[in-house]
Symmetry: C2
Subunit: 199 residues, 2 copies
């Protein structure tokens, strides 16, 4: 069977997406799979599906704060709940589309989420986005300029619409072999699928 391709739909506003993002490349590598990083707008997904963020239920919100920290501990990755939450990740995701065109989609996606979920950066701001780009050796000003292009805006919109059409209702949403997996907590099922397909 040919190598698996994991489409990873992400929005930096989602803590579980950051957590999954810290794991997905190594998970894929264990099975010879590749990851295609596709930003999408979670707020629009909620609007389209009638789903809502977990934090809208008070008891769930309280649990979420503990829960994300526990996952970060399990994964041994840096995590600090941002003081600015929720955040508007539209500009960051448009910049990610431009970074992808420059061949750095994976690195930029991971770095922008780490900037927000571990380093407390206000990634709604152009300066923070440029700093993430610069740390990867990319031209931050050029990336930011591209976020105003219709083609980039359309791509983010198309990603979102396509994900919803394929069944997404939350983040992260992953597709492999036409199957959908939702959530950081389903990486174990995604990996089980990759194991089974290679047999």
């Amino acid at each position: 069977m040919s190598a698996a391709v994991i489409e990873f739909f992400w929005d930096p506003a989602s803590p579980y997406t950051y957590l999954a993002a810290t794991q997905i490349e190594s998970l894929a590598a264990r099975h010879g799979a590749t990851v295609v990083w596709r930003p999408f707008v979670l707020g629009k997904v909620f609007e389209a599906t009638g789903n809502r963020a977990p934090a809208t239920v008070a008891a769930k919100a309280k649990h979420l704060f503990q829960d994300v920290q526990r996952w970060a501990t399990l994964y041994a990755v840096p995590f600090r709940f941002p003081t600015i939450f929720p955040i508007n990740g539209i500009s960051a995701m448009r910049a990610a589309c431009a970074a992808d065109d420059a061949g750095h989609g994976s690195a930029f996606a991971q770095a922008i989420m780490k900037a927000y979920w571990a380093d407390g950066a206000d990634i709604a701001k152009p300066d923070a986005i440029a700093a993430v780009a610069a740390a990867l050796g990319l031209d931050g000003e050029a990336l930011l300029a591209r976020t105003a292009e219709a083609e980039i805006k359309d791509r983010l919109r198309t990603n979102t619409e396509e994900a919803v059409k394929r069944g997404a209702f939350g983040a992260p949403t992953m597709f492999v072999d036409g199957q959908m997996f939702w959530g950081n907590d389903r990486l174990v099922l995604l990996e089980n699928h990759l194991k089974a397909r290679s047999h």
Copy 2:
């Protein structure tokens, strides 16, 4: 440190509770912990917290059917989505309280959930409850008679109210060392806690 006690709050109406129930005793045994099985009424928990069942979002419901089957495959446990869904598990849970008094709380809880989620039994019916009891060598008629007792009814109500007070908003909900863990998909975090406490 003393052996850990896992309080496992369950409602047979929840597929993820069945899935977790197939794992929790062996997980506990791996760490010298014990499990206290406490039935609670999930519908009342949703009412009290403003949470709602995942199946109330159409895209989520579609995903849920695949997802529960994937977990069953991962765990290698029998699973067949019931034709009668959702189900009223009140009588079954009252019977579980009575079975607990007879020293068979764990076995009855596991058996009643398997009857519903693997064998298609209509566990809202007294006959199905009596059959589960009989298979465990218990007196089904005696258990059913006790479901009418005020003490048993109160215990189920008290379990539910206590769980909500302690932060529960869904099922299964597990408590250990004063910490709450929610969901079959958090067994990995519960186990990580048990590992950490023994060090």
